[in-house]
């Protein structure tokens, strides 16, 4: 488990060095719809992409689209960090990219709908401000897809 007190000193220091001040003024969007009416997209920083897509570089602020209609079992991971578990992801894609769970929520009417396209970044080697341009690009794409809310997963 990731309780910092349980980690080795160097590991704790490494993670605490990632503490940064807020990126800008608070960006709070108040809810206007019930959760059962929301159109939701998944965004992960796990460095996922389909095998034919270009791998992520060692430090890389670009993103890869993940079509909601493709089989997520064909996703691979090119993440430059070696300091997290991959055994679980090898067993179950939903552990990191829970698209099947969200399809179930959609089928049960617990969310409104699932976006046509989801997105993957590779969260290592760069500070958050390096992602500003690509994040803005993804925000425009999400708007185009009429997405109301995003569910974020790190590794």
């Amino acid at each position: 488990m990731v309780r910092l007190n349980d980690l080795a000193d160097y590991e704790r220091a490494h993670l605490l060095a990632k503490n940064l001040p807020p990126l800008g003024p608070p960006a709070w969007v108040p809810p206007t719809k019930e959760i059962a009416e929301l159109r939701i997209a998944l965004i992960t920083t796990a460095g996922l992409h389909f095998r034919d897509d270009p791998s992520f570089e060692f430090a890389d602020a670009t993103f890869r689209p993940i079509s909601g209609s493709e089989d997520a079992n064909n996703l691979v991971m090119s993440h430059s960090s070696v300091n997290f578990d991959k055994v679980g992801f090898a067993e179950d894609v939903n552990l990191v990219f829970p698209v099947d769970r969200f399809r179930e929520l959609e089928a049960d009417g617990k969310i409104g709908s699932l976006a046509d396209v989801h997105y993957s970044f590779m969260g290592a080697g760069l500070n958050p401000d390096a992602y500003e341009e690509s994040a803005a690009q993804v925000a425009r794409l999400l708007k185009q897809d009429k997405v109301d809310a995003v569910f974020l997963t790190p590794v």
Binding site: V29, N83, D85, A90, E91, L95, R101, P154
Partner: protein, 218 residues
Amino acid sequence: MTTGISLVRENTESMQPPRALWVSFPLGRPLGKPGDAAFQHRVIEAALDLLSEQSGPVLVDYPEDTPSAPVDDAPACPVSFAKPANDTDAWTTALLNELQTLTPWHDLGRRRRRGRTLVGVSDFSITENLQKLGQLLDDNELPTEELNWFKGAIEDAKVFYIEALTAQPGDYDYAQIEQIYWRETRMGAAVLRFSEMFLEDAELSAFARIIAPRTVSN
């Protein structure tokens, strides 16, 4: 609106995203438990509930832990590395021999996962990659001009080994798999050797940090 999972509470506290659910799960496991849809649904529901909050930022602690599987209960490792290749063997021979031993287990694991595999980030086959990695070590050379190939090759090898070592169904203790890979396989030893060589290289020492975890390298 955004909501999501936080794995390192301190990072989320400092950066203050609008809504985050902190979970105590290991890095790499934001939804907690592989193959447990009910568990994953509980985590997702808790994170989605934050979308109803009227003001923020909101950082909520998820109450459920994921107890790691007791080592005694972990399924037996399908491969015996009790007699590793002799240190005097050429790396190329040792890696290709190990690959041959693991291939049937990888095939079995792949069938169990209905064809799913994470291998394939590299443009080259696992055999080609292990042959080339072994040759580099036999020649005591670093792939200084082919770092992208190198990273893809060792990542493909790692997931190939994980998929072979977990060929039997079961809730594996990931720490145990990591330990077998880094401490008992020639492939793990090969990557650690590369890591040492990178550390000795003034221009490429930082590269050592992205090929082997700090917990197993120096």
